[in-house]
């Protein structure tokens, strides 16, 4: 079986045997190349010899890192071992372990021929030009940039200039107008005995208005001029006058003088 009529020239013995990695599109391609070099019948591959040659070539090429080639090397070594196993003469159900490799090689060879046909078709088509033909965009690895420092800096400036100025958050001072709110609350208390907190706020209050009004309510409650009552949780509350309206008219700045004034008025 392994006796072959192929030339016995030991290919690996030639030191000048140089193969370009780029010339091969993969391990199957390399294998086909070796078979062709040795003029070996693909149906009867001397596995041991081809495996050794394959290993030598990928070693010489420094292809040891390439996983695809290593995987094929592993397959070949395994195949070599399988071929060495003894088998009985005339054993019909013996399955040639090389069958899978041969199948793959033939399949790949077919793809190679198809690829060649496609290439010739593409070359024929490329001989005919459409109107307004635009040359295709250059492939990605372009020529290295040749610019001087000034051009680079100008480019940087242009890029920087195009960057929109970042919109930082600006804090708008909106001081609480507690005094104004106190005056407004006092005015309302003078007119009405009881009213809702919402009435105090008026329509469309801003957050500042709400806070100012709340502080005003608390301030007047501290002075004892009003009481607040809330009927339910999170509900609105009622503001009720706690002192006679006429006592509110003088507007003391402090609660103590205010109460003294109220006493004096009595």
């Amino acid at each position: 079986m392994t006796s072959s009529s192929a030339p016995t020239r030991a290919l690996g013995a030639e030191p000048g045997f140089v193969v370009q990695l780029d010339a091969f599109s993969g391990p199957l391609d390399l294998l086909l190349h070796l078979l062709r070099e040795e003029q070996i019948d693909i149906a009867d591959i001397p596995v041991a010899r081809i495996a050794d040659q394959f290993l030598r070539v990928i070693h010489d090429l420094g292809l040891n890192q390439a996983a695809d080639y290593l995987e094929m090397a592993g397959r070949l070594i395994r195949l070599k071992a399988q071929m060495l196993l003894p088998r009985r003469e005339g054993q019909d159900d013996w399955e040639d372990p090389r069958h899978e490799l041969v199948r793959r090689l033939l399949e790949y060879q077919l793809i190679r021929e198809v690829a060649g046909w496609l290439e010739r078709a593409a070359a024929r088509r490329a001989d005919q030009l459409p109107r307004g033909f635009l040359p295709p965009p250059p492939d990605l690895p372009q020529v290295p940039l040749t610019i001087d420092l000034l051009q680079l800096l100008q480019a940087v400036e242009k890029v920087v200039a195009d960057i929109p100025t970042p919109v930082l958050h600006r804090v708008v001072p909106r001081p609480l107008d507690t005094e104004g709110a106190v005056l407004r609350l006092e005015a309302m208390l003078a007119e009405r005995e009881e009213f809702s907190w919402l009435d105090l706020l008026g329509a469309r209050p801003s957050i500042v208005d709400v806070l100012s009004a709340l502080l005003a309510v608390l301030e007047l409650a501290r002075r004892g001029w009003l009481r607040v009552a809330q009927s339910e949780s999170f509900g609105s509350f009622l503001i009720r006058r706690a002192i006679p309206a006429f006592e509110m008219l003088p507007q003391p700045t402090e609660s103590e003088p205010g109460s003294e004034a109220a006493d004096a008025a009595d």
Partner: protein, 196 residues
């Protein structure tokens, strides 16, 4: 030339891609598809018999006005245009697998070519020569690839049926051996073709 033929000539002249018969019909909505085909034939004969340097080529399911092959070199020498650069061997092999096995997953492509195919697939996709046509039902639901109309344009083919049948290739590795005439070899080749 008939008015419809002139319309079609104008449209094909202005476009720089293959235009289908259906698209050409929209030029004159009252015309039938058969009229368009007749007009295309008239235009083709006009170019062929009146000694024009361009011809009506049938590509990727459409029609396109192209310069005749004889002038490619002259045009290129004058640098009016550049011929499409050739694809790499790896790209052509990958295209060959996809063209004949589509829809086909990456694993099968790699199995046939014996090398990883990620980079090649990406560049073919970028050139719009292949596209994802679906997902396999298998483990991990891998993407399946197929060829595009751009692929047909690249090769100048009307449709995929114009690709030669695999039986037409002489696939067996025949070494230059005088006694390489055993039939077993041919059988092996035939069985591979049948499988593929």
């Amino acid at each position: 030339m008939k008015p419809l033929t002139q319309l079609i000539e104008a449209a094909l002249f202005a476009a720089n891609r293959p235009i289908t018969v259906e698209e050409l019909q929209t030029l004159e909505p009252e015309s039938a598809l058969a009229d368009v085909r007749t007009a295309l034939e008239e235009l083709r004969e006009h170019y062929d018999f009146d000694g024009h340097a361009v011809e009506v080529a049938e590509i990727a399911g459409g029609y396109q006005i192209l310069t005749r092959r004889a002038f490619a070199e002259a045009i290129e020498r004058a640098q009016f245009a550049v011929r499409t650069p050739r694809l790499t061997t790896a790209a052509m092999e990958t295209l060959a697998v996809i063209a004949y096995r589509q829809p086909v997953g990456r694993a099968e492509i790699e199995e046939i070519r014996g090398v990883s195919a990620g980079g090649v697939l990406r560049s073919l996709q970028e050139r719009a020569l292949i596209e994802v046509v679906g997902r396999s039902e298998g483990m991990g639901r891998p993407l399946l690839y197929g060829t595009t109309p751009t692929f047909l344009e690249l090769l100048g083919l009307r449709d995929l049926a114009e690709l030669p049948r695999t039986e037409e290739f002489s696939i067996a590795l025949h070494p230059h051996k005088p006694e390489a005439s055993d039939d077993g070899q041919g059988d092996a080749a035939a069985s591979v073709v049948a499988e593929s």
